[in-house]
Amino acid sequence: MNFRDAAIRLVILVAILAAWQYAADRVIGTFWISSPSLIAERLWLLHRNGDLYWHAEMTVWQAFVGLVFGLVVGVALGLLLGAMPRVASIVDPFIMALYSLPRVALAPLFILWFGIGLLSKVVMVFSLVFIVFVLNTMNGLREIDRDLISLMRTMRAPWPYVIRKVQLPSVVPWVFAALRISIGLAMIGSVLGELLGANRGLGWYIEDAGGKLDTTGVFAGLVALMIVAVLANEIVKLLERWALGAGRRQGVE
C-alpha cells in the first residue's frame, strides 16, 4: 500500500464521518443515527470500564472455538472423502444441500437444543464454516498433479508418506483460502447466536442497546465488531505468510 492511497482513504473516511456528524447534529438527529463523536465517547467509556473487552472476549472466543472445530473436522472429512471418491460422489448432493441451506435459520434450534451459553454459539459457527473447509480440502486434493502420485507409487511410498509429502502441502493453500472466508462467517455465527439468546458478548450488547433505543450503543458495538474482524483477517494473513514460507511456491526465497 503506498502513501498516496493511504492518504486518499483517510480523506474519504474523514468526509464520511464529517457528513455523518453534520447529519446527526443538524438534519436527522442523534436519536436515529447517533453520531461519530457520541460513538467515540461511548467506546472510550467501554474501554475505561473494561466492558468492551468483557464482551469482545466472549464473541471472539465463540468464533474461535467454532472455527477451530470446523477446520479440524472439515479438513479431516475432506481428506477422507478425497480418499474415497465413490463415497464422495454418493454424498455430494447431501453436502450441497447442507451448503446451500441458509444455516442462520438454524440458530433458534441451536439455542433451543444447546441453551444460551457457549455451546449453542460454537455449534452455530461450526455449522457455518465446516463445509467450506470440506469443499476446499477436496478441491485441493483434486488439483494435485496425478504424476506426483504415480511417481510415489513407483517408489512404493507408504500411504502416510504420500499424505505428508504430496497431499497435505497441496491442500494447505486451499485451507487458508477457506480460513479467510470463514473468519467473516464465524463472526456472523457468533454474533447471531448472541442476538437470539445470550447474556454477554458484542452481539448481546448490540441487542440490549437496541432494546433500550440506545442507538449510540448499537453503533459502538458495530464498530467494535468491525475492528475485531479486521484484526482477525490480519492475523490470518500473517499466519498464511508464515505457513507458506513467503512465496515458496513462486520459487523465491
Binding site: 498433479d145 504424476d147 506426483l148 504415480s150 511417481l151 510415489m152 507409487r153 513407483t154 517408489m155 512404493r156 511410498a157 508418506y161 509429502k165 504430496v166 502441502p169 497441496s170 515458496r248 511456491r249 513462486q250 520459487g251 523465491v252 526465497e253
Partner: protein
C-alpha cells in the same frame, strides 16, 4: 541366465467400450538381460511411455504379461525406478529435499542422507541450487534433479523416459557420460527411451525401434561397440556412424509409411 525382464505378447488399449478403444501397443515381445542397457526409439505416439508404465506396474496390459525376475508384474514392484518424461518434482520441496525423497523411500539411514545428497548435487552440477524450489529452475535443471532422485533411489532396473530431452547438447553429453560411468560401475539394467539416435547408439547395448499406430517393435539392432565407451569420442568412429545410419534409415522408412 534368466532375463531380468521379459515382456510377452503384450498389448495395450486405452479408452472405454463406449467412447471407442485405441490400440496403443500391439503384441510386444521383448526381453532385457540383467545389467543390459536397452534404448527405445520411435516416433511420437508409438507407445514408448506407455510401455514403460506397463513395466513399472503403474498400468496393466490388456493382453500378455510382463515378468520381472520371473515374477508377474501386477503392481509397482520393488527395485524399479522410473524417471518420467515430465519431471514430477514436488513444487513445495527444495532441490535437496526432492532428491532426498529417493533416499527416504529407499530406506537409506537418516545420518547418511545429507552426504549422499551433497554428492549427487555435485555430480549433477546443481551446486548452489540446493535450497531453490523447482519453479526457479530451468527445464534442464529440473530434469537433472529428477535424475538425482532416481539415482538416490538406486533401483535395480532404471526406466528412463527421455531423461535428457530438455538438456542442451553439451549438458546432454555430460549427463550421458555420467550415466555410462554409473552404469559401468553398478551394472544395473536400463530401459532408456529417447528421440536422439546418436544418444541411443552411444549409450546402449541394443536399440529397439518402434513404429506407431499401433505401437509395434519394428527392428532391434545390437550395438556391438566396445566398452567402456567415451560417449563423445565414440561418435567419431566409422562403426558408430554406420550403426547410426542404419537406424536412421529404419526410422525414415517409418516416416515414408506415414506419409504414404
Amino acid at each position: 541366465m534368466a532375463p531380468k525382464l521379459s515382456i510377452e505378447q503384450v498389448s495395450m488399449e486405452y479408452g472405454s467400450k463406449r467412447l471407442g478403444r485405441t490400440k496403443v501397443l500391439d503384441t510386444i515381445d521383448l526381453t532385457l538381460a540383467d545389467g543390459e542397457f536397452l534404448a527405445i526409439v520411435g516416433p511420437s505416439g508409438s507407445g514408448k511411455s506407455t510401455l514403460l508404465k506397463l513395466i513399472s506396474g503403474l498400468e496393466r496390459p490388456t493382453a500378455g504379461r510382463i515378468l520381472l525376475d520371473g515374477e508377474s508384474v501386477t503392481a509397482p514392484p520393488p527395485g524399479v525406478g522410473f524417471m518420467f518424461q515430465r519431471d514430477a518434482l514436488l513444487p513445495w520441496a527444495t532441490v535437496a529435499e526432492n532428491i532426498d525423497v529417493g533416499h527416504e523411500l529407499a530406506g537409506i539411514p537418516r545420518e547418511e542422507r545429507p552426504d549422499r545428497v551433497a554428492a549427487l548435487i555435485r555430480l549433477l552440477g546443481l551446486g548452489g541450487f540446493e535450497r531453490h524450489y523447482p519453479a526457479a529452475l530451468s527445464g534442464g535443471m529440473r530434469q537433472r534433479v529428477s535424475l538425482g532422485r532416481l539415482l538416490a533411489y538406486g533401483p535395480q532396473l532404471y526406466l528412463m523416459d527421455e531423461p535428457f530431452g530438455a538438456l542442451d547438447a553439451q549438458t546432454k553429453l555430460l549427463m550421458g557420460q555420467e550415466l555410462l560411468r554409473i552404469w559401468t560401475t553398478h551394472r544395473k539394467s536400463v530401459v532408456f527411451v529417447t528421440h536422439d539416435i546418436d544418444e541411443a547408439v552411444a549409450l546402449s547395448d541394443r536399440v529397439v525401434i518402434m513404429s506407431s499406430r499401433p505401437g509395434r517393435i519394428k527392428t532391434e539392432v545390437a550395438i556391438d561397440l566396445p566398452r567402456p565407451r567415451d560417449a563423445r569420442r565414440i561418435r567419431r568412429t566409422a562403426e558408430f556412424r554406420d550403426i547410426a545410419d542404419l537406424l536412421w534409415r529404419e526410422l525414415m522408412g517409418e516416416d515414408e509409411e506415414v506419409s504414404a
